[in-house]
């Protein structure tokens, strides 16, 4: 395997990965009602139309509420799970963590349909954004745990022992030593959960009832060719928001790595 030819391949691969995304701004600012070449000219009309749309605004506020609450929930639960799995030994840990991390490999539709069944048939509750929040916590929890496990695992246990040795209690050690050192990981986990929830379609599709979220709204509009340019504008905003959130998350992850003095091996997983 020659490395230079591999590099060319890698760059081509990245272009393949990103090419579709680059179409978003291209057509979001294109002054034409159909998504086709040649481009017609520059316009910001689609963004203006997007801003005027009431349903869309409703969907946005729903999505933000869902994303904020579910990522807060997932992050808090992930702190417990990551701390327990990296610091303590107990029987059945593998099985317990396996169950919590299961949604990483299960198709999302299984979570969507099974929760739907429980909500409607067993608990007899009405679908709302609350049911979506419950589902999104389950979906983003494994990713939040993955991020936090790295943060907790790079934490040298003797740091905590040193703090206790110097007179601190278990609680104050957690506050003074553990929390500041894993804080970048916590922020990073929160932002990643937020991004997952903001973009999640299937579970919201099953569990939101008649409440729109951004992805379910987009899905409902895809049938109408006239709505496509607005969707391109919306997609541009969503992807830009995701990239921004992830960049901030990455910034905090790296800062966390630097702070604990560990070597940066890169990556969220």
């Amino acid at each position: 395997m020659k490395i230079p030819s591999l590099k060319i391949y890698a760059i081509a691969y990245l272009i393949f990965l990103y090419a579709p995304i680059f179409l978003l701004p291209l057509f979001a600012f294109n002054d034409g009602t159909i998504i086709a070449f040649p481009l017609k000219g520059f316009t910001t009309d689609w963004f203006a139309k997007m801003a005027e749309n009431d349903t869309l605004r409703h969907a946005l506020s729903n999505s933000l509420i869902i994303a904020l609450t579910s990522s807060a929930g997932a992050t808090i639960l992930a702190i417990f799970a990551a701390r327990a799995s990296t610091r303590y030994r107990f029987k059945g840990k593998g099985g317990i963590m396996g169950l919590i991390l299961l949604p990483m490999v299960l198709p999302d539709i299984l979570m969507g349909m099974s929760l739907l069944l429980v909500m409607l048939e067993v608990l007899k509750v009405n679908l709302s954004i609350a049911t979506v929040i419950l589902g999104h916590v389950i979906i983003s929890l494994p990713y939040a745990i993955a991020v936090l496990q790295t943060a907790f695992a790079t934490l040298d246990q003797s740091l905590e022992e040193a703090a206790v040795d110097l007179g601190e209690t278990r609680m104050s050690t957690f506050r003074l030593i553990v929390l500041p050192l894993v804080m970048p990981g916590i922020i990073s986990a929160f932002l990643i959960s937020f991004t997952i929830s903001l973009d999640e379609f299937i579970v919201a599709f099953f569990l939101a009832g008649n409440q729109p979220t951004l992805p379910t709204y987009i899905f409902s509009q895809l049938r109408f060719p006239s709505a496509i340019p607005v969707i391109m504008a919306l997609g541009t905003c969503l992807v830009a928001a995701s990239i921004l959130l992830l960049s901030v998350a990455e910034f905090f992850r790296r800062r966390g790595v630097k702070r604990t003095g560990a070597k940066d091996t890169g990556g969220f997983l």
Partner: protein, 298 residues
């Protein structure tokens, strides 16, 4: 040194259980219990507007005797298999380049670049392929505008690319690409670099070293990548719906139709459980074959 693990804290395992219980309880209530509910419902009977809570195998019999289900299941498995093959084959060189071709300080940046599409709106990325491949879409209109398609061009009519298994596979392969890279990258990173030098030192060429040392050591990552791509793609809903235009349904579309519009939840559950069992069985066979193959390989 012996004894680092045990702490001054009273009963380590009690602390561990106390900490793990909130996320564990959450997962039991909102993941395990619902999955068990699906299993239970798959044995119930669908009455008009209500579900009859009586044990029956009727749903399973109906599922497995229905030729449509079998066609859809086979299609789902075929598409997922194809997608897995493409993504893993395309991902391996990338993972190799990330691990062996980059200075350590560049790795984080590249992985970040590769993971960004992994986290950004799946729905929009799938939809973009519809826009790209459509009859009046990006590719066709671009080819038309430069004269390749048209009355005087090489091709008379725009290309019909959507609504095909190939288009579904291409879209899914694009969507799941980063999933395959990361596990392979992780397993390549774990390889002790001196092993490779030892391989060459012992007279193997670079290529032979790759085959005899690198590839076998990377297999766990390849296996993980295969499962991580295969299992979710079998159950994908969005791509067949958008790219297949509803004409190429896969298992998830069938389940969704039973769960929501048709409101036959026991049937939807039985289809889900059946499909899950088939996927689980295939995964186990794959793992078993792999272990056997690797053992023989030694």
């Amino acid at each position: 040194m012996a004894g680092k693990g045990e702490s001054w804290l009273r009963s380590e395992s009690a602390q561990g259980y106390a900490l793990i219980s909130p996320p564990f309880l959450y997962a039991v209530l909102l993941l395990a219990a619902p999955l068990v509910t699906i299993l239970a419902y798959s044995f119930f009977q669908d009455g008009y507007l209500t579900v009859v809570h009586e044990f029956t195998l009727q749903n399973y019999i109906a599922t497995w005797t229905d030729p449509i289900f079998r066609v859809i299941l086979v299609r789902s498995l075929f598409v997922a298999g194809l997608v897995t093959l493409i993504t893993v084959a395309l991902a391996f060189p990338i993972a190799y380049y990330l691990s062996f071709g980059l200075a350590p300080n560049q790795k984080a940046r590249w992985i970040f670049l590769i993971t960004i599409p992994f986290w950004t709106s799946y729905l929009i990325r799938v939809f973009l392929w519809k826009v790209i491949l459509g009859y009046n879409g990006v590719i066709n209109s671009a080819l038309e505008s430069i004269g390749i398609i048209g009355p005087n061009g090489l091709i008379a009519d725009p290309l019909q690319m959507l609504n095909s298994v190939g288009a579904i596979a291409l879209t899914l392969a694009h969507a799941y690409a980063p999933f395959a890279i990361l596990p392979i990258f992780v397993s390549l990173e774990k390889i002790d670099r001196s092993l490779l030098e030892a391989g060459q030192d012992l007279g193997e060429s670079r290529w032979r070293t790759f085959l005899r040392v690198t590839l076998p050591l990377a297999m766990p990552g390849v296996v993980a990548a295969t499962l991580i791509v295969f299992i979710p793609t079998v159950g994908d809903y969005v791509t067949p719906e958008l790219i297949g235009g509803g004409k190429m349904p896969m298992v998830a579309n069938l389940i969704q139709a039973q769960m929501l519009p048709l409101d036959n939840r026991p049937m939807g559950s039985a289809i889900a459980v059946s499909s899950l069992l088939v996927v689980a069985a295939l995964s186990l066979v794959f793992l078993w074959l792999n272990r056997r193959f690797l053992k023989v390989g030694k």
